[in-house]
């Protein structure tokens, strides 16, 4: 019997999923912010006891955490120093010299993780071809170490220009500083993120150094305590790129743990897509504070090589810190159940990104929140039953929701509470819709053809309306959606991705050079994956990021290299060109004849197969269950209230069919079925909603 445990520490809850041969035992406990491992141990103890499983018999633990994200967001990492090329002390402070907001004269720029007094230059210079223009002045490192000692620096990032071409100076400086400061952790930019563009590379190295001491200590404590609990299996970590890795690798590159929880959510949606055989999917995860949207093609979440963390201004692009690491490509906006509504200067309703969170929470919670939120609107519109929220554990006040909406929105706009609620809900849905649409276009895809997979506490409430706005005609609400991220961890492959900048023109491809590069990348990635999955068959995939010479944005293309040889040869350039043109045409309509193509970055991934997914594609016989009751539900399309049937999800069975308007209630959420949708329960327990 296989016994696997997944743990996802989130901002409010720690989600646990115990997988016993495919049967999921979920548990939610409150996150213990002072010592996050305590909540993990308590929850693990509880879930194992409830299932009657001996801790010593658990085969694997997979762990994901927002801890790294929070350290960056709240600037609570360790005192960190940087060593940089003389003359380039301010790469991380000057950024790209841009204001992310055009009209606001009072914006703040994201503060660098390492203040200027701790960014110390040393004499050295390597050029774009890797030639040494100025030797590393090793004698200057004594003074650097002294300064760091004086400021009690616990971690150091070393980032020199063009170290992605020639790492020798970074490596040498690292060795010397490590001898001078034996208890200090050292991150080299050529290892953390060996890619061109100094701001992004140094920002990533700084973030790695900044979170390393605390994450390292936390992981060691967690491992010890799990051991004390009797668990003897390896502890594996979920990465932002969607693969899992060993404790050692996570401690070296903790920056790759950022946003691992949401990555698990995308993996979860990907596994549902594979299970149900949908190859063109939009995953939509909406919680209390934010909504996350990810595209999933052929069962695999779309990935990216860069990401922005800790945005300080309305989730606006450019207001955070760039990280150049493999990530699942998601757009995150400030739209959740707790998002606060107000009326702006043009008498328009605006929603979010400020959130009432869980404290004080929406007005309907009756915990002192006075601002109207999306949840309040959902209560007034009949989507959430105030008497049966969170499985009846919490009684909401519809009066408080009505009062907040009338006071803040209705009075100013001459609307009653229902119209105000409708306005709030339509605007938040439109905000999410716009984000989804722009994200899809940026990826060169069409949104209307996609199937939406909705999970997280608030997503099933808003899913059919969003689908209507996007022109999407199928929505799936999986079971156990409340702990979706943790379930995603269980369905992730053991994987490691390595990327390198190595400039090549296809017209003059250096075959030997590329083969050497791929060999060295393979040699780096393979041991990491083998450590996490000993004796398992591994797969290799290779991507090249290419563009027409003169363009600024690259297109990632799977390299057509024969699997058995894994070697580039004399025919490769032509094959790469064909693969590139095909992908470019798919994205942008037509290629540009006669223009040479260049490769900037090479990416190699070693991975195990993801755990097998049982297909659930059979169609059970149709049955029309009787609703438990009916209630009034406002249709945003007409503004009219309609009588909606209400069903309890726990009492539905595969084959049950429900016509909208209806609401399917479960412990942590409710699925709203608009009058234009009909639902059926699939053989795997999924709610499958289709446009009628």
């Amino acid at each position: 019997m296989s016994r696997r445990l997944a743990v996802d520490i989130g901002g409010t809850f720690t989600d646990i999923a115990l997988d016993l041969d495919g049967a999921i035992h979920p548990l939610k406990v409150l996150t213990t912010h002072d010592a996050p491992e305590r909540g993990v141990i308590e929850g693990t103890t509880a879930v194992l006891a409830a299932a009657g499983v001996d801790p010593g018999s658990v085969d694997q633990i997979i762990y994901g955490t927002t801890l790294a994200t929070n350290l960056l967001l709240e600037r609570k990492g360790s005192p960190t120093g940087m060593v940089v090329t003389r003359g380039f002390r301010d790469s991380v402070e000057m950024r790209n010299e841009n204001r992310y907001e055009q009209y606001d004269l009072n914006i703040d720029l994201p503060a660098p993780l390492v203040p200027r007094k701790l960014r110390l230059p040393v004499t050295e210079r390597i050029d774009v071809r890797g030639r040494v223009l100025a030797d590393l002045a090793t004698d200057e490192l004594d003074g650097v170490a002294q300064s760091f000692r004086r400021h009690e620096v616990e971690s150091i990032a070393i980032g020199f220009l063009h170290s992605y071409v020639n790492p020798i100076h970074e490596q040498r400086a690292g060795e010397i500083l490590s001898a001078l400061l034996p208890n200090v952790e050292i991150s080299l930019s050529c290892e953390v993120s060996p890619e061109m563009r100094e701001y992004e590379r140094l920002s990533t190295a700084a973030a790695n150094a900044y979170v390393q001491p605390l994450i390292s200590r936390h992981l060691r404590r967690l491992e010890e305590q799990l051991h004390e609990l009797g668990l003897r299996c390896p502890l594996h970590l979920m990465l932002s790129g969607g693969g899992i890795t060993t404790l050692d690798t996570a401690q070296r590159f903790p920056v790759r743990l950022v946003e691992s929880g949401p990555a698990g959510g995308a993996i979860f949606a990907g596994s549902i897509a594979r299970e149900l055989g949908h190859d063109d999917v939009l995953s939509y995860d909406m919680g209390g504070t934010t909504a996350k949207i990810c595209l999933i093609n052929d069962g695999h979440p779309q990935t990216s090589r860069s990401f922005e963390v800790a945005r300080i201004y309305r989730f606006m692009r450019g207001s955070g810190l760039p990280l150049r690491i493999p990530v699942i490509d998601m757009v995150e906006i400030g739209a959740g159940g707790g998002s606060i509504a107000h009326v702006d200067a043009m008498d328009r309703i605006a929603v979010g990104p400020e959130s009432a969170g869980s404290q004080p929470g929406p007005a309907a919670y009756g915990r002192g929140g006075r601002d109207p939120t999306v949840t309040d609107a959902d209560v007034v519109l009949g989507r959430i039953d105030p008497d049966n929220f969170a499985g009846g554990a919490m009684r909401l006040s519809a009066d408080a929701a009505v009062d907040a909406l009338e006071r803040v929105v209705g009075e100013q706009l001459g609307m009653d509470a229902t119209a105000a609620a409708l306005g709030v809900s339509e605007i938040v849905d439109e905000n999410m819709t716009s984000a989804a649409r722009v994200h899809t276009v940026e990826s060169g895809q069409r949104v209307e053809t996609k199937t939406m997979i909705a999970f997280g506490g608030a997503a099933p409430i808003h899913a059919t309306r969003m689908a209507e706005k996007l022109g999407i005609s199928r929505v799936i609400v999986p079971p156990d959606a409340g702990v979706g991220s943790a379930i995603g961890f269980l369905r992730a492959p053991v994987a490691y991705e390595v990327s390198r900048s190595y400039h090549q023109r296809l017209s003059s491809l250096d075959v030997d050079g590329v083969n050497q590069l791929l060999d060295s990348m393979r040699a780096e990635a393979t041991p990491v994956v083998e450590a996490g999955a000993p004796g398992v068959e591994l797969h290799e995939s290779r991507l090249a990021y290419m563009r027409y010479i003169g363009q600024g944005h690259e297109v990632g293309v799977e390299l057509p290299i024969r699997v058995d040889t894994a070697v580039v040869d004399g025919h490769s350039a032509e094959q790469f060109m064909q693969a590139y043109e095909k992908e470019y045409e798919r994205l942008y309509g037509r290629g540009i004849p006669g223009v040479d193509v260049e490769v900037l970055t090479w990416v190699l991934t070693i991975a195990t197969d993801p755990p097998a997914i049982e297909g659930h594609r059979s169609t059970p016989s149709i049955n029309h269950p009787a609703p438990s009751l009916t209630r009034q539900l406002v249709d945003p399309d007409t503004g009219e209230a309609v009588a909606a049937s209400v069903f309890d999800r726990s009492r539905l069975h595969p084959g049950d069919a429900i016509n909208g308007p209806a609401v399917v209630v479960e412990e942590n959420t409710a699925t709203v079925i608009s009058p234009r949708f009909a639902a059926r329960v699939g053989s795997g327990g999924h709610l499958i909603l289709e446009r009628t």
Binding site: G87, K117, G423
Partner: protein, 567 residues
């Protein structure tokens, strides 16, 4: 009634998403660094009358507000009734569009159910347009490259091949420029498709009601903000280096109950060189400056722009006439926000900022046989454009932003990316100590760059810098920012404007201006001064001299000595 209102507001949000998609599509497919790296572009949607309804978040003010004016000229020449589905129109006329030949404007009518319902438009900077290139040295606009009057690029879907051939033979980087024209066309196409999808979804046949709603509510919201200001006329003038002589920008800002009128009577006559500004561009940066202070949160569209009226005497440097040279009109245009903000500072001192370095400092370099002289080493032909910024002015409650663009909205390019394509080595690119104007809140710092040709190869700089003789002024007792300096490593000072040589082995050192300070520096919190010294933003000497704070290089304050200095 209220559902109708909700739908209108939802569609308003949608229009902003539509033009953002337009912008993203053209960024991803374009060739020129100014569009794809720097985001020097505008994308917008217009109603049948040519009124701008929404603009993309991505973009820069000089282009956005210029394109808002420009579409009216297209409609004057080609009334909507004469347009056909599949038509695409083009121009780069400086007087009709955004003020210099490098900017190409593409306009596409959008047809729905057989009727033209609106227009999509974008304005973007292409890499070359022929002539002398991107330099102020021209004496007439004829030297500044190819002029494309308002013409059809596509007529009912059919490409105007004659026009494309003419462009192809007149520009230096033909593939890139022509490729960009297609990228801009497909950007409009993406926007048009999305607009049509929105109309189908909401079941509307035209944009008239929606346009009226957007424009009326934005206009009224802007007027409400204007009405909060004390009525009166407020004057300010800014003097800048100019090319051959200093230039004074003189503004009279008149605030009434329902409009703000900016008049530039008294401004200097044109320059003989290409730094002159056309009226469209003057309007663009003037309205932008006013909007940042008066109504920053109100969306930028025809309604919110309407109550802001701009005039300049015909023939002054802000309203030059054909054939004046205009290639580098941004050097002056970028100072207009400082000029009008300085006038409004007299009535709303708590909402304005101090003057900044303001003019975008392009590092435009040229290498190759034409500039190498008798140099014996390897010579490589190249033209490089690298965007850089000095410091912005301090704010009433915050320091200015260091090495950050205002009012331009463009992004810089990484050193490693630039060194990968041109034979130049940057030896330094970092903040410039003591360049931020002293104040209770300090001006943003400028930056210093030091460059050399690879293996010592000589090269030319096409200098285009201001603020060398007239640095950014502080406000309310704040000190000035440091002036721009341009020199050789070997010691020789260079002129801030015009083409000049960097000899073999020598290095170019460019020190960009800082922003002005805000408030009396002696009232700055000594702890903030100490932090500035510890970080090297301010030197120990200047801390004592300008701020009256005695502090060592580690940031330790000598309280007693400080008390003596501060009195």
């Amino acid at each position: 009634m209220s559902l109708d209102l909700i739908h209108k507001n939802v569609m308003w949000n949608r229009l902003i998403a539509v033009v953002e998609e337009e912008a993203q599509a053209l960024i991803r497919t374009s060739f020129s660094t100014s569009v794809r790296e720097a985001g020097d572009l505008a994308a917008a949607v217009f109603d049948r009358q040519g009124r701008m309804l929404a603009q993309a978040i991505t973009g820069t003010p000089g282009h956005i507000n210029s394109v808002a004016e420009c579409v009216k000229h297209f409609l004057a020449k080609h009334p909507l009734e004469t347009m056909r589905d599949g038509d695409v129109l083009i121009t780069n006329d400086p007087w009709l569009a955004s003020g210099h030949h490098n900017d190409i404007t593409i306009v596409t009518p959008v047809f729905f159910q057989g009727q033209a319902v609106g227009l999509m438009a974008n304005t973007c900077h292409v890499v070359d347009i022929g002539g002398r290139g991107f330099t102020p040295d021209g004496r007439q606009v004829y030297e500044e490259g190819l002029d494309i009057p308002i013409l059809h690029l596509f007529r009912a879907g059919e490409l105007n091949e004659t026009l494309v051939e003419i462009i192809r033979t007149n520009v230096r980087e033909a593939d890139q420029v022509v490729g960009d024209m297609f990228a801009f066309t497909s950007g409009n196409r993406v926007g048009a498709d999305r607009l049509i999808a929105m109309m189908e979804e909401f079941g509307i046949d035209d944009l008239e009601d929606l346009a009226e709603h957007i424009i009326a509510s934005s206009r009224e919201a802007t007027i409400r903000r204007i009405a909060e200001l004390p009525a009166g006329t407020y004057h300010n003038s800014v003097t800048m280096d100019g090319y051959e002589r200093p230039i004074t920008l003189q503004a009279a800002v008149t605030v009434t109950d329902d409009e703000i009128h900016v008049d530039y009577e008294g401004t200097s006559p044109p320059s003989s060189y290409g730094i002159n500004v056309v009226m469209n561009y003057t309007k663009a940066y003037t309205t932008y400056g006013i909007k940042c202070v008066v109504a920053p949160d109100i969306p930028n569209n025809a309604g919110s722009l309407e109550p802001i009226i701009v005039s300049a005497p015909e023939g002054c440097i802000l309203n030059v006439q054909h054939p004046a040279p205009v290639a580098l009109r941004h050097i002056i245009g970028h100072l207009l926000p400082d000029t009008v903000i300085g006038a409004l500072a007299q009535v709303i001192p708590d909402r304005v900022i101090a003057e900044g370095s303001s003019a975008l400092a392009n590092l435009q370099l040229r290498g190759g046989a034409s500039v190498a002289g008798e140099y014996q080493g390897e010579v490589v032909e190249f033209e490089m454009m690298h965007f850089n910024n000095g410091g912005t002015g301090a704010r009433p409650t915050k320091d200015g932003l260091s090495a950050t663009g205002f009012p331009n909205g463009v992004r810089g390019v990484p050193v490693e990316a630039t060194e990968a394509i041109v034979p130049i080595v940057f030896w330094r690119k970092e903040l410039r100590q003591d360049s931020g104007g002293a104040g209770r809140f300090r001006g943003g710092l400028g930056q210093v760059m030091e460059l050399q040709g690879t293996d010592g190869m000589p090269f030319d700089v096409l200098a285009q810098y201001d603020k060398a003789e007239h640095p950014a002024r502080g406000r309310d007792g704040g000190g000035p920012g440091a002036p721009t300096r341009i020199e050789l490593k070997s010691g020789k000072q260079l002129r801030p404007k015009g083409q000049q040589s960097i000899p073999p082995g020598d290095r170019l050192i460019l020190s960009l201006a800082g922003g002005g300070g805000f408030g009396d520096p002696f009232t700055r919190d000594p702890a903030m001064v100490a932090e500035d010294v510890a970080g090297g933003y301010v030197s120990v000497d200047r801390a004592a001299e300008l701020y009256g704070v005695v502090v060592d290089e580690h940031g330790t304050i000598d309280e007693a000595a400080t008390a003596v200095l501060r009195g």
